[in-house]
């Protein structure tokens, strides 16, 4: 699959079938980008479980943070990778093992071999994008900040 760009329908499909997200690299500090994404996705109805060994056992926005993906005690639909690209292959293996349906790598995170491995195991993959930005773009909210969402529609607004 081409990972240079994704169609709106592909991204919509992933976001619509996702309920629970494990965010690897989630920070407990409010002014870090991962915290922004976690808080936003929670507000949009996703359950987001933080994974970060440095914050293991702490609560981040009401969710217990786990040291590793393997410790997360609930089924995961999507693994969101907020780590350096080099960390992706090990996280992808764990995501496959846990039965996740999607691996999502944040802006600046890309690992083509890990992506191919995930796809071969039947997972959907997004790289070098942010689920907060894509969710808000597809539902039109990003336009409130003057951002070009690329969405052209004469239909009445609906969520993603």
């Amino acid at each position: 699959m081409n990972h240079e760009s994704y169609s709106d329908e592909y991204l919509r499909g992933i976001l619509r079938r996702t309920r629970t997200i494990a965010m690897v690299g989630a920070s407990p500090h409010w002014n870090r980008p991962s915290f922004f994404v976690l808080k936003y996705l929670q507000a949009k109805g996703f359950r987001v479980i933080p994974v970060n060994p440095k914050a293991a056992g702490e609560e981040i926005l009401g969710e217990i943070c786990y040291a590793s993906l393997a410790n997360v005690p609930v089924p995961i639909d999507m693994v969101d990778i907020f780590r350096a690209s080099a960390a992706a292959p090990a996280i992808v293996e764990e995501a496959i093992r846990l039965g996740a349906k999607t691996v999502w790598m944040q802006i600046g995170v890309r690992h083509d071999e890990a992506a191919a491995r995930a796809e071969a195991a039947g997972l959907s993959v997004v790289m070098n994008h942010c689920p907060k930005i894509e969710f808000s773009r597809l539902c039109g909210e990003l336009g409130w900040n003057g951002v070009n969402t690329g969405i052209i529609t004469a239909r009445r607004h609906k969520r993603v």
Partner: protein
């Protein structure tokens, strides 16, 4: 995975940013004549103030009508996002505010709107921003003028008032090699005729008062960010790459990626400088843009007819319109503005300053005023008006010497415009 089918320019001019109002279903964009927006609860307020969620707080930072216009202009220019402002001058202030620091400098073309030369050369100095002006007819002049503290190159795609066209791609290459921001004022061309981001511009600025609004009834400006510039690479743009004390150490580029300048322009630029666009003006401009492609076609056809008439007139010394084969910018026009070279141009009267003043006082259909980009045809003698604060040398460098008359050709019947000029020039002698 194939990309979504792209929509055409005309479709986007009508629909971009303006899906039906989510609350009421209103089909045209409502005028949100509103200043402030209720928070759902304290946590919602905190998220909004921390920039963690999207929403409206106060119309100085963002307004639902204004943001429709922002998205539309960003879309038509092929940018990532836009910030609309009270005027084109405010847009320039905001663009430089996000990328400059005291002691930094930038290069600007000598061929700019006279008001921009004054803003850059005099008022910006008070912020410690130094503008150095360069003759842009040879792009290499920018390379020769580069200094260590240079942060940007600023040009107009189609220059006001001279019918001069900038070799955008050549200047973009120089800016890129220097690792600095390339800013293009695209007011005169509009994205219908030229899209500077496609030629390598990083930021595009507009006075929306002109052709985008198009009807001479709404002030406004806009900054469009291409989203392509790496603000963190060189350390030259700390406003976007370093922790922002007013947001508890948040780094805009790290946090918002290619949205950094768009978010900063609202959350800091509009918040602290204050030049928000009025919702009514945004509404009028949104409505204007819906007919931009149709209007530009007529503007260009009329301008070409009037320019050809003037070029053959015995009282006219020269016509500077890039749509004429005689123009030294004709080849650049064919490349950068293939649909047409705009509808604002200058010509010189053999009778000099006195003949220019007499002409503007003798026409009936052309309006004598200091604006461009109206449905109505406009005329001005820059040396006695818009460019009078410049020295004569600066006037000549800006293409606004004593003999120069500037026209902004409107949408009237071309034969009526020609007849009016014929009468005026007979009176001017």
């Amino acid at each position: 995975m194939t990309a979504d089918r792209p929509f055409g320019f005309e479709t986007r001019a009508i629909h971009a940013g303006a899906s039906p109002d989510p609350t009421t279903g209103a089909r045209s964009t409502p005028i949100y004549q509103t200043t402030a927006y209720v928070f759902e609860d304290a946590d919602d307020a905190a998220s909004l103030f921390n920039l963690q969620s999207y929403g409206y707080i106060y119309s100085r930072l963002g307004n639902p009508t204004v943001s429709v216009l922002e998205e539309r202009i960003a879309n038509l220019e092929g940018g990532r996002g836009a910030i609309c402002t009270a005027s084109g001058h405010a847009a320039q202030l905001l663009a430089f505010f996000s990328i400059m620091n005291p002691g930094a400098s930038f290069l600007a073309s000598t061929r700019l709107y006279g008001g921009s030369i004054t803003q850059f050369g005099r008022t910006f100095k008070k912020f410690g921003w130094n503008a150095n002006f360069v003759d842009q007819t040879d792009p290499e002049n920018f390379k020769r003028a580069l200094t260590e503290d240079c942060r940007a190159i600023f040009v107009e795609s189609l220059a006001n008032p001279g019918g001069v066209i900038t070799d955008l791609e050549a200047v973009a290459r120089i800016a890129e090699a220097a690792g600095i921001v390339f800013i293009v004022d695209n007011t005169m061309a509009t994205p219908y005729l030229c899209r500077p981001i496609e030629w390598g511009a990083d930021l595009v600025v507009h006075s929306t008062t002109k052709f985008l609004g198009g009807h001479g009834n709404a002030m406004g400006g806009g900054v469009v960010d291409s989203g392509k510039f790496d603000w963190s690479k060189s350390g030259k743009y700390p406003t976007l790459s370093e922790p922002e004390p007013a947001y508890h150490g948040l780094r805009f580029h790290e946090t918002f990626g290619d949205l950094a300048l768009t978010v900063h322009g609202h959350a800091v630029g509009l918040r602290d400088l204050g030049p928000a666009m009025a919702p009514m003006n945004a509404f009028l401009t949104i409505t204007g843009i819906e007919t931009l492609p149709l209007r530009m076609e007529r503007h260009i056809a009329n301008a070409q007819a009037v320019a050809e008439y003037l070029a053959g007139h015995e009282a006219v010394a020269w016509v500077s319109y890039a749509g004429l084969p005689s123009s030294p910018f004709h080849e650049l026009a064919r490349r950068y503005l293939p649909k047409g070279a705009g509808s604002v141009f200058t010509f010189g009267l053999k009778g000099g300053y006195e003949a220019g003043v007499k002409l503007v006082e003798s026409v009936d259909l052309f309006s004598h005023l200091a604006n461009i980009g109206d449905t109505r045809s406009l005329i001005i003698h820059p040396a006695s008006t818009t460019h009078r604060q410049l020295t004569e040398a600066q006037q000549i460098a800006a293409g606004a010497g004593p003999d120069v008359v500037r026209l902004s050709i409107g949408l009237e019947t071309a034969a009526d415009l020609i007849a009016d000029l014929e009468k005026g020039m007979a009176a001017a002698g």
